[in-house]
C-alpha cells in the first residue's frame, strides 16, 4: 500500500503535534502541570506513567474531550483549540480508548458509523469498513452486535474505526491490557505498518518491555508533571520504572515455610448458565487449591472470570452443593455470608460499587463484609466503635493513606482503596482467599504491598486463588497457573515451568496439548476470531 499521507515523511523534523506548557487543573488540583510534548510523524511515542500520573488527562485534551486550563496545543505548526472530539477527528486525530467507547446493543457497522463524521452513506461506509478491515488483517462481521464479540474483537472495531478516519495521529490507551500476548503481537504488526505509512502514534502503556520493543520515544509522567523524554531502547526497564515511580520498587518475596499441605478449596465440575444473556457459560470447571499455595487463573477478560468469581463468592449459587468445597464443607449452596463464616474471603475486581459502596464511609465498608464473621454486630445492632477500630487497624497494617479517619470510599485513590479492601479481608485471616485483579489500575507501590500481603497470607497456610489478566503478576506470585477460555479452565501448570507463549496460546483458546509454539500458525488459522495473522 502506498503512503496515504504524501508529503509527510520522517525527514521532516517539524513536530506534527506539540504541547507547550499544557496543563489542566480541577479546582486547585493540577491533573496536568505544564507538560511539553513533541510528537513527530512516523514515530511511535510512548506515554508512560503510573495510574494517576495524568496520562489520560493529557490525551483527553489532545482528543478534545476536555479543555486545557493552561498552555497550548499546536498541530502541524498551528495553534489548535479543539471544540470537541469531532473537531479533533476532522483534523486527523483518532483515538482508541482503553475502556472502549462502543455500544453493546448496536451492530459493528453502526458502531463504526458513530465514530465517523457521517459524510458518506451507510452503504458506502460499510464497504469501506470491509476494505479497511481486510487491508489491515483485522476481520470484522459488520452485522454482529457488539455484545456478542470477544474483547479482542471489540478492540479491533475501535482500531478499524480509527483507521477509517485516515488519521495523521492515532492515540492508543493501554491497548494490550486486554489482549493475549499473541493478539498483542498482531497489534504491533499493525502499529508498525501505520508508522511506516508516516502516521504518528501516541502509545499509552505501563508495560515497559512492550515500550522498549515498539516505541521510538518515550515521555514519562509522574504526578501530573513530565519527568523526562527518552529513547526507550537506550534505557533499561528498571531505569524507566524508576522514573515513573520516583523510587526503586522492592521485589516481593515469598515467605519461608510455604508447605503445600491440605486441600482447602476445591471446585468440582462446576457448570453454570449465566443470568445475564451477555454472560459466559462456565463449563466443567475443576481445580483445587491447597493451603500455603497461590493458584493463578489467567485469561483475557470476558472469558468467564466474573462468572467464576460470582459462583465462588456465593453471589450466584452453584447447581450442586458439592461443586464448591471450602475447607471440607460443601459450599455450593451456601450464601455469601455462610461462606465467609466458613473462613472464606473475597476481593472482587471492581473496587467502587462492588468491593465497596462508594458513597459510604470506610467504617461502613468494613461492616460490608465484616458483619458476617467479625464481632461487629450484636443481636442485630451495629457496634460502631468496632467498625472504626477495624478501619484503624487496616489503615496501619496496610499503610492506607487518607486525609481523615473515616472518609467515604470514593474519596480514596485507587491504590489506597485497593489496599483497604485487600487489607479488610486479610486481617480476618481467611483460610481461603479469592481475589480478582488484585492490582488492576493500582500504582506500583500499592501493588507491591498487595502482592506481598497475598504471599504472606499463603505463607501462613491459607489457600489463595488469584484471578488476573496480568501474566507478569501471576508469574511473580503464583505457584501454579491455569488459564480460562470461553468458560472452561485448563489444567494448571507450575508457574516455574510456564512460559508466556504457552500461556498466551491457552488464553487464545488453543487446547493444552497443542499449546506449543510450533502449532501457533495452525491454531491461529483455526481460531480465526481470536488470533488472526496480519
Amino acid at each position: 500500500m502506498s503512503n496515504p499521507l504524501p508529503g509527510i515523511s520522517q525527514s521532516t523534523r517539524a513536530p506534527l503535534l506539540q504541547a507547550v506548557g499544557i496543563g489542566k487543573s480541577y479546582g486547585s488540583f493540577p491533573a496536568n502541570d505544564s507538560i511539553d510534548l513533541d510528537l513527530y510523524a512516523g514515530e511511535i511515542h510512548a506515554l508512560l506513567g503510573e495510574n494517576g500520573a495524568g496520562k489520560s488527562t493529557l490525551v483527553k485534551m489532545i482528543y478534545g474531550l476536555i479543555q486545557p486550563t493552561e498552555g497550548e496545543l499546536r498541530f502541524e505548526g498551528r495553534t489548535m483549540v479543539l471544540s470537541g472530539p469531532a473537531d479533533a477527528r476532522s483534523r486527523g486525530i483518532a483515538m482508541v480508548f482503553q475502556h472502549f467507547s462502543l455500544f453493546d446493543n448496536l451492530t459493528v457497522a453502526e458502531n463504526v458509523a458513530l465514530g465517523l463524521d457521517g459524510s458518506e452513506t451507510f452503504a458506502a461506509m460499510s464497504s469501506r469498513l470491509a476494505q479497511v478491515s481486510r487491508d489491515y488483517g483485522l476481520p470484522l462481521d459488520p452485522r454482529r452486535e457488539v455484545w456478542r464479540l470477544s474483547v479482542g474483537e471489540r478492540q479491533r472495531i475501535e482500531i478499524v474505526r480509527a483507521l477509517m478516519q485516515n488519521p495523521k495521529l492515532l492515540i492508543l490507551d493501554e491497548p494490550t491490557a486486554v489482549l493475549t500476548p499473541q493478539e498483542a503481537d498482531q497489534l504491533f504488526v499493525v502499529l508498525e505498518r501505520l508508522r511506516s505509512e508516516g502516521r504518528a502514534i501516541l502509545y499509552i502503556s505501563h508495560k515497559l518491555d512492550e515500550v522498549k520493543r515498539l516505541c521510538d520515544t518515550a515521555t514519562i509522567l509522574r504526578a501530573g508533571r513530565k519527568v523526562s523524554t527518552c529513547n526507550p531502547r537506550a534505557e533499561t526497564a528498571a531505569s524507566m520504572a524508576r522514573m515513573m515511580v520516583g523510587a526503586d520498587i522492592g521485589e516481593v518475596k515469598a515467605g519461608a515455610g510455604r508447605a503445600t499441605t491440605v486441600q482447602r478449596l476445591s471446585i468440582n465440575n462446576l457448570s453454570m448458565t449465566p443470568d445475564d444473556p451477555h454472560g459466559v457459560h462456565l463449563k466443567n470447571v475443576t481445580i483445587e487449591v491447597k493451603g500455603g499455595e497461590i493458584l493463578g487463573i489467567a485469561g483475557v477478560a470476558g472469558n468467564g472470570q466474573d462468572e467464576l468469581f460470582a459462583a465462588l463468592s456465593g453471589e450466584r449459587l452453584a447447581p450442586h452443593a458439592a461443586n464448591i468445597i471450602i475447607d471440607g464443607h460443601a459450599a455450593g449452596h451456601l450464601s455469601v455470608t455462610e461462606r465467609r463464616r466458613l473462613g472464606a474471603a473475597f476481593v472482587p475486581e471492581e473496587r467502587l460499587g462492588h468491593g465497596t459502596a462508594p458513597r459510604m464511609k470506610l467504617s461502613e465498608n468494613a461492616l460490608l463484609t465484616g458483619h458476617a464473621a467479625s464481632h461487629m454486630v450484636h443481636r442485630g445492632f451495629v457496634d460502631r466503635p468496632a467498625t472504626l477500630a477495624s478501619v484503624d487497624k487496616t489503615t496501619q497494617t496496610f499503610d492506607v493513606r487518607k486525609d481523615k479517619r473515616d472518609p467515604e470510599a470514593a474519596s480514596l485513590s485507587g491504590g489506597n482503596l485497593q489496599k483497604f479492601i485487600v487489607g479488610r479481608e486479610i486481617l480476618r485471616e481467611p483460610g481461603v482467599l479469592i481475589v480478582s485483579q488484585p492490582t488492576w489500575g493500582v500504582d506500583a507501590g500499592a501493588a507491591a504491598v498487595i502482592r506481598q500481603a497475598l504471599l504472606d497470607l499463603s505463607g501462613r497456610g491459607s489457600a489463595v486463588l488469584v484471578i488476573s489478566q496480568d501474566l507478569d503478576e501471576l508469574t511473580e506470585i503464583a505457584d501454579r497457573i491455569a488459564v480460562m477460555f470461553h468458560g472452561a479452565l485448563s489444567p494448571p501448570v507450575a508457574a516455574a515451568q510456564a512460559n508466556r507463549e504457552t500461556l498466551g496460546l491457552l488464553m487464545g483458546g488453543a487446547s493444552p496439548e497443542k499449546a506449543t509454539p510450533e502449532t501457533m500458525t495452525q491454531t491461529a488459522a483455526q481460531e480465526g476470531s481470536h488470533a488472526v495473522g496480519a
Binding site: 517539524a14 513536530p15 506539540q18 479543555q67 499546536r74 505548526g77 498551528r78 495553534t79 489548535m80 483549540v81 479543539l82 471544540s83 473537531d87 483534523r91 463468592s313 456465593g314 453471589e315 450464601s335 455469601v336 455470608t337 465467609r340 473475597f346 472482587p348 471492581e350 460499587g353 462492588h354 468491593g355 465497596t356 459502596a357 462508594p358 458513597r359 459510604m360 461502613e364 461492616l367 460490608l368 463484609t369 458483619h371 458476617a372 454486630v377 442485630g380 445492632f381 451495629v382 472518609p407 467515604e408 470514593a410 474519596s411
Partner: protein, 367 residues
C-alpha cells in the same frame, strides 16, 4: 462562559443541612410570585398560609392531626426509597388499610362488642396495607414487573374497591343514600387526647414509629442493609444481602404503615368510611419523605410543615378565595426545589469558559 455541573469528591455536610431550608425559602418566593399573579397580596397570603395556623390552639391541633398520617406513610416510603425501591402506591395501601380495618367496625356496629374491636381494627388495617403492598412487590420479585407502575395502578383499584363497598354492601341504611358507612361505635374509635381538639392517640403511634425507624436505620444491621442495597446494589449482593427479600420487606413495612395510618384516620378524625378520606396523603407523603431527606426525624419536621400547608391552604381558600389547588402546586414546587438543592450535596455548579472558536486553527504557531 457556561454553567456546568461537577461531582464533589465528598458529600457536603453544610449543604446537607441547609438544603431543605433553602428549598423552602425558594418555594416561598415562587409562591409569592404566583399569588401576586392571581391578583392577591403575597404578604397576606404568606401570613394566612404559614403564620395564622400557628397562632390558634385548634388549628395547631389540626396540624398534628394532618401530620400523623403523613409522617407514618412517609417513614415507610423513606425505607423503600433508601433501598431504591419505588413504592408510589401508598395512597392505595392507605385506603386498603382503612377498608380492611373498617370491616370490623361495620360488622360490630350496633352490637355490644368489647374493647377488643379497636386493637383488632388496627391489626386488620395494617395487614390490609401489607397485603396490598405485597402485590407489586411480588410482581417485581417473581416476574420483574416494574413496581412503580403496578403500585400506582393499584391506587385506582383500591379507590374503586372502597367506592364499591360504601355504595354497596357497607352503606349505612340510615344514611339517606349517601355513600358512607354508619358512624363507628365508640369501641371502634380512637380516643382523642385533649378536649376541644381532634388530636388523637394515633399521633403517639406516629411518634413511636419515628423513634423505631431512627433506631433501625442508624443502629441496626437491617438499617445498614437497606442503605447499602439502595446506594450500591452490587456491593450489597457482595455483602450477602438479598435484594429481593428487601423489596418484600420494605414494601411490607411501608404498606403496613400506610394501612395503619389509613385505619387510624377513619377510626380517629373521620369516624366513618367514605370516599375522600384522604386528600392525597399517600402522594403528599412522597414529598414529606424527600423534604425530610429520608431521615425519620427530618420526616417528622417535614410532615408537620406540609400539614401546615394543608391547614393554611384551607384558611386561604376561606379568607382570601385562593383556590385549594394552589396547595398542591406549592407541594409540587417544594419537591422540585428539594430535589434540586439535594443535588448540590453531591455536585457543585461551576462557571467555565467555552473554547473560543475564533482562534481555532487560524493563528499560526511559532514552531
Amino acid at each position: 462562559m457556561q454553567l456546568v455541573l461537577e461531582k464533589r469528591t465528598e458529600r457536603s455536610v453544610l449543604i446537607a443541612v441547609a438544603s431543605p431550608l433553602v428549598a423552602i425559602v425558594l418555594t416561598l418566593v415562587t409562591m409569592s410570585i404566583l399569588v401576586a399573579i392571581l391578583g392577591k397580596n403575597p404578604i397576606t397570603a404568606l401570613n394566612v398560609y404559614f403564620i395564622e395556623p400557628l397562632t390558634d390552639p385548634y388549628t395547631l391541633g389540626e396540624i398534628i392531626v394532618k401530620a400523623t398520617p403523613l409522617v407514618m406513610i412517609a417513614i415507610g416510603l423513606s425505607l423503600c426509597y433508601l433501598a431504591n425501591v419505588w413504592n408510589i402506591g401508598a395512597e392505595g395501601q392507605f385506603i386498603m388499610g382503612a377498608v380492611c380495618g373498617s370491616y370490623l367496625a361495620v360488622v360490630t356496629n350496633g352490637t355490644d362488642a368489647g374493647p377488643w374491636v379497636l386493637p383488632a381494627m388496627l391489626v386488620m388495617g395494617t395487614l390490609g396495607g401489607i397485603i396490598w403492598a405485597l402485590i407489586p412487590a411480588l410482581c417485581r420479585v417473581r416476574f420483574g414487573a416494574n413496581e412503580i407502575l403496578t403500585s400506582l395502578m393499584l391506587v385506582y383499584v383500591a379507590d374503586l374497591v372502597m367506592d364499591y363497598l360504601v355504595r354497596g354492601p357497607w352503606r349505612d341504611p340510615k344514611g339517606m343514600n349517601f355513600p358512607t358507612t354508619a358512624s363507628f361505635d365508640p369501641v371502634a374509635t380512637i380516643p382523642t387526647l385533649f378536649d376541644g381538639s381532634r388530636v388523637h392517640a394515633g399521633s403517639i403511634i406516629a411518634l413511636i414509629v419515628v423513634i423505631l425507624a431512627t433506631v433501625m436505620l442508624g443502629r441496626t444491621i437491617k438499617g445498614f442493609e437497606i442503605r447499602v442495597v439502595g446506594a450500591a446494589p452490587r456491593a450489597a449482593r457482595f455483602a450477602g444481602f438479598r435484594s429481593d427479600r428487601l423489596v418484600l420487606f420494605t414494601f411490607a413495612i411501608s404498606g403496613g404503615l400506610a394501612g395503619l395510618a389509613g385505619i387510624i384516620e377513619v377510626a380517629g378524625p373521620v369516624g366513618v368510611l367514605q370516599p375522600g378520606i384522604s386528600p392525597g396523603y399517600g402522594f403528599t407523603a412522597i414529598i414529606v419523605a424527600f423534604l425530610g431527606r429520608l431521615n425519620p426525624v427530618g420526616i417528622l419536621i417535614a410532615g408537620l410543615f406540609l400539614a401546615l400547608t394543608f391547614i393554611g391552604g384551607e384558611g386561604a381558600q376561606i379568607s382570601m378565595k385562593i383556590p385549594l389547588d394552589l396547595t398542591k402546586v406549592f407541594q409540587g414546587i417544594l419537591l422540585f426545589y428539594v430535589l434540586a438543592c439535594d443535588s448540590m450535596i453531591l455536585h457543585r455548579i461551576r462557571l467555565i469558559a467555552t473554547p473560543k472558536k475564533a482562534v481555532q486553527g487560524t493563528v499560526d504557531g511559532t514552531a
